[in-house]
Symmetry: C2
Subunit: 139 residues, 2 copies
């Protein structure tokens, strides 16, 4: 038995690819369009970690997707949480839970999927502007 | 950057462990109880695939968790989809989408998290009772 992917539905594929690829840093592994079913599947993964994927399901006749509480988040570790959050912030992503502790941050996708970002290894030393940055919204 | 886990909330930890471990076949990797926050985290993974985990979050003052449409499912590949589905069925799990095609099946967790089960490699030849088994509910 082997983990393959977590599937999330996206209401706008272009916006979602900006978020997941350009901003968060995942890369597109493969894509399949289903003309008859009128949907597109796009599989994403972190560079060098292609075995664990996120599957974006884009229905061409899209609707806004509500969020439930049974699903929590997707989590990724990064080498430098401050660098990752700075890059996300510079590209316009709201850092809902800034890495005040040098260890954990949360952002959300365009469809409100929570993404947890965790520092690889030990927490980094507290550092401004993160150390005193307040939470924004929920995640 | 590396995928760590997908987090789902569970309203009853015992029932959820029966489902995810005894029935679905994941194993518990580690567990942490937070007395002050009144919650327990349990990390699960497929045997031999410990790098890709599911994190169960159990709040001690639990509520029923609704489901949204932005989250779709978790997917696992298995060596013999008929054997896996038979074992799930024998243990009382509803096979919402039977593997009629020898390739894909869906079940749901006690908190309605959809789990996709995919045959590793090529689809198996169609086989009864699966080939003529109808769908039950949605997933």
């Amino acid at each position: 038995m082997k983990y393959l992917h977590t599937m999330v539905r996206v209401s706008n594929l272009d916006e979602s690819l900006v978020f997941y690829c350009q901003q968060l840093g995942l890369k597109e592994i493969r894509r399949k369009e289903f003309e008859q079913g009128r949907f597109t599947l796009v599989f994403l993964a972190a560079e060098g970690d292609e075995g664990a994927q996120v599957e974006l399901t884009y229905n061409w006749d899209a609707q806004a997707y509500d969020e439930g509480r049974n699903f929590g988040h997707l989590a990724y570790s990064v080498k430098d949480i401050y660098a990752t959050c700075q890059q996300l912030k510079d590209s316009g992503v709201v850092i809902n839970r800034p890495p005040r502790d040098g260890y954990m941050a949360f952002v959300r996708s365009p469809d409100n999927v929570s993404i947890e970002i965790l520092q690889e290894g030990a927490p980094l030393a507290p550092k401004e502007p993160w150390a005193s940055m307040e939470n924004t919204g929920n995640w």
